[in-house]
Symmetry: C2
């Protein structure tokens, strides 16, 4: 791996595990066993590293979020699984860059240009979650009012955005895989009650996927 890429990977690891505020460029250089001068040759400070990691995050999350808008997820028999795995991938990507969410307000205050871009990403997230809700409702033969639909999408987006902050408030450390699975289940549980007659079946189906994915 090139030194530049190694710096990014090491920074992301340290930011995620120690917190971005508690990590200096000296820590990053030490961790990589390179000189601060060498690091500085590639990145002129921590802010540039954060900006570059944000670019990566934005591309990764943006591509995933746009996929079901460009080609809707298959519904029908395997539909719930498709939505489940899609949400799983989304939460995994967010987890990969979780330091942003750990100090979201602080980072957005320090980097006003990232705020604009993050809000754009939130809008995209709302659109994508909305399209998933729509296809699940359609599949269940249900319709809901415009207000209710907007509230549902708002709730889903909020819950997803703060999922890892919420998890860190729970006592006891939990495996990342479990955190992500519980996040998906939680989101699905918000959609379920809107699915009328089929909500029990939907709920059971989600519980089954959850249990099946949990077991090795």
């Amino acid at each position: 791996m090139k030194t530049r890429d190694r710096i990014l990977v090491t920074s992301l690891d340290l930011f995620n595990s120690e917190g971005e505020q508690n990590t200096t460029t000296i820590d990053i250089a030490n961790e990589m066993d390179i000189s601060p001068g060498n690091l500085y040759y590639h990145f002129k400070g921590k802010d540039v590293i954060i900006a570059e990691l944000y670019n990566q995050f934005e591309v990764a999350l943006g591509n995933t979020l746009r996929a079901p808008l460009e080609k809707p997820l298959d519904q029908g028999p395997g539909g719930i699984e498709n939505n489940w795995y899609f949400l799983h991938v989304l939460l995994e990507e967010m987890y990969h860059y979780r330091f942003f969410y750990q100090s979201l307000e602080d980072i957005l205050n320090r980097f006003p240009s990232l705020r604009t871009r993050f809000l754009r990403l939130l809008d995209l997230k709302k659109k994508t979650l909305g399209s998933i809700c729509l296809s699940l409702l359609e599949d269940a033969g249900e319709e809901i009012g415009e207000d209710q639909f907007a509230s549902l999408v708002e709730n889903l987006t909020q819950s997803m955005t703060f999922w890892f902050s919420w998890s860190r408030l729970q006592p006891g450390a939990r495996e990342p895989q479990l955190l992500i699975l519980q996040g998906v289940l939680q989101l699905m549980s918000m959609i379920a009650p809107h699915l009328g007659q089929s909500q029990q079946q939907f709920h059971q189906h989600c519980q089954d996927i959850y249990q099946r994915t949990l077991l090795p």
Copy 2:
């Protein structure tokens, strides 16, 4: 007002408006036009002020949260209004001490003893929100499974805890009163779909209270 109380009120104001991390005891003394020595005579540093404000917050929120557990809110004809105003009071209290929520992770990391107490408060919040859901379900003649109930309460508690963080991510400044009203509406919208036949009526009722409260 006694100097000690004035220090607490001024600190809370500054923490809420400027952020706790951006406020020093010198700022607090300057804002009050007293000497740092006078402030130090009452509080031996910012940490002691934060601890005292947390005590206030815990007593206020704890008392409110315990009220409907000790004497359930009246349901029946005026039931929705009673729940509405209860959630409104809760969010108002949280807003009053919003600096805790603005740097929640940071504060809980710095004060491990507050973490334990905050988690206890979250448990109480879950119990109270659970009892509200139960009485609304009962009133609507609906029953839901244990898993679904647990998910609903979890979602409500998460949404409430991060409501002001979520609001600060929305573009444009909003009036506190509007933020709080929208928070209540958002929470009610999570309960509504569980209310079966009466969900439309419930939803409309909430929209009506929202509109009516918005207008001067």
